[in-house]
Subunit: 302 residues, 2 copies
């Protein structure tokens, strides 16, 4: 008998399991491919390079968190966050809050305030936008929060009433705000590190998503103050700097590409995950939640 550790290794496998034909009603029986196979067989044209001008490097002592901005959804916030990054506003900022199953948040702590120069402190809310010209790959399965969900150019999104908006899935990044809808702007940012708080959708401006390094935020100690704020400055994780990738010397960049959500490979990936046919699965659900769909990112030429 295999040891229990090996048993565990198989128990919750995400990738890499042997595949097996399973007799169950499903649209693609026989045609099923594992996610690993889908990705391995995807043509280069199904991938899109991240634009260095819309990529942020959040530099922590322990490593780099890479964020892809979503200027199509939050043009004002994306531009402002880049302006703030370029004026060095985040140099010496810190992760000031980590609330379990919710968010990690970074900002300049109270005692190290600094004047904003080229950027702006607040901006009009960008909670949603017109849906007419936005790309959208709908997901067939029901959603608890919206009548229609899917993917828009690599981001999880929801649609309704002629509007489209980003969804608060794991790893999404937003701009904290005060009670006024227009009181945010990007000087204070948060990342989702728990079960998707979708009740925040259309209530706060999402600006992008973490494409690499989310564990540098999600594994931080939780703050013990109200809402997960750290009670002492010593508990905070210092931020060395946050930079626009385009401003970083090429030798220090990480060139990444993401699977296009309008591609045939992505469609196959969604089906692969709706019907899990790896040998381990006893009964594939045939459904998937928006925030459980992987959005693959890999090194270019990697």
């Amino acid at each position: 008998m295999r040891g229990m550790l090996a048993a565990g290794a198989m128990a919750l496998a995400v990738m890499g399991c042997a595949t097996k034909a399973v007799e169950s009603a499903a649209p693609e029986t026989g045609a099923w491919r594992s996610m690993g196979d889908v990705l391995a067989q995807s043509p280069a044209s199904d991938w899109r390079a991240l634009d260095p001008e819309n990529t942020l490097y959040l530099e922590l002592t322990r490593g780099r968190v890479i964020i892809e901005l979503a200027p199509a959804f939050a043009p004002l916030h994306a531009a402002n966050i880049k302006a703030l990054a370029r004026e060095g506003y985040f140099d010496g900022a810190a992760v000031v809050r980590v609330q379990d199953n919710y968010v990690a948040q970074w900002a300049r702590p109270e005692e190290s305030r600094r004047q904003i120069r080229a950027g702006r402190a607040t901006l009009p809310a960008e909670f949603d936008r017109g849906a007419a010209r936005a790309p959208f790959r709908p997901l067939a399965d029901p959603d608890s929060y919206a009548d229609e969900v899917g993917f828009s150019d690599g981001f999880p999104a929801a649609r309704g009433g002629g509007r489209i908006w980003l969804a608060h899935c794991y790893g999404m990044v937003g701009a904290g705000r005060d009670n006024g809808a227009d009181s945010g702007g990007g000087a204070e940012l948060y990342a989702v590190i728990g079960h998707a708080p979708r009740h925040l959708d259309r209530n706060v401006t999402l600006v992008g998503r973490i494409v690499q390094g989310v564990e540098l935020l999600s594994a931080l100690p939780r703050g013990t103050g109200d809402l997960g704020f750290y009670v002492s400055a010593a508990e905070r994780t210092p931020i060395r700097t946050m930079r626009v990738a385009a401003d970083v010397p090429e030798a220090e960049r990480v060139e990444l590409e993401t699977l296009r959500t309008d591609s045939a490979s992505f469609r196959a990936l969604v089906e692969s995950r709706r019907f899990r046919r790896e040998e381990w699965f006893a009964s594939p659900t045939g459904r998937i939640n928006l925030c459980n769909v992987p959005l693959p990112v890999r090194a270019r030429n990697g």
Copy 2:
């Protein structure tokens, strides 16, 4: 203007905000109460004490994780895990795997195998059970994975085809298994620490949920091996012991109670969370996902 840190503090408030009347169509306009008010006003009879005989203390160096077992759903596994705990099987076990946005898993590492005496190494799967006699408080909102979801005696659950099963929400605890459906048993356990992997529902036996201390697992460093396994023994978090609360001297116990999910207060809590009317919210969604419904736990007489 309030400082940005204060702004942040309000930005994603979960509890404690001032309430405000909001004009929007909703079943309980005018009658809305904050979750804090619902809990403060709940009668003692709306709470249920945790049974020490079905409560586990997972003792880590940094603190105690408290788990409520679900013998109504997994009677064989609950009994076996208690038998294993009572024979000291988990003394010297370790958290061997932490996979970001997925699970933390604990077991006896390969090199410290030990014979199981009173307990059993494997058990028949307990993926679901007959729904006829199970309590169930349905949730009105749609779910991505099941036609009907709700709560059964304090646990998130789903129902269909005359069967009922526990749902893989954040903090739920399950018994890892090998490829065979009956290859688990409880000697290797995992806790969900990410967006609910509901595709595991009915594929692996859930045995209970963490009611206190989940952050002791969710904030652990992620493993860098396949599936989040640690690559070296030094990275593992040692487990001092796992005990049944009833076996622990009363002075060392934590007496907890949980809000009954069949109570009027819980019904009010669900409505409070479906329509968030705290001042911060620009547009309450009027919906909620099964795994976003809080399941309050508090100290008895606390």
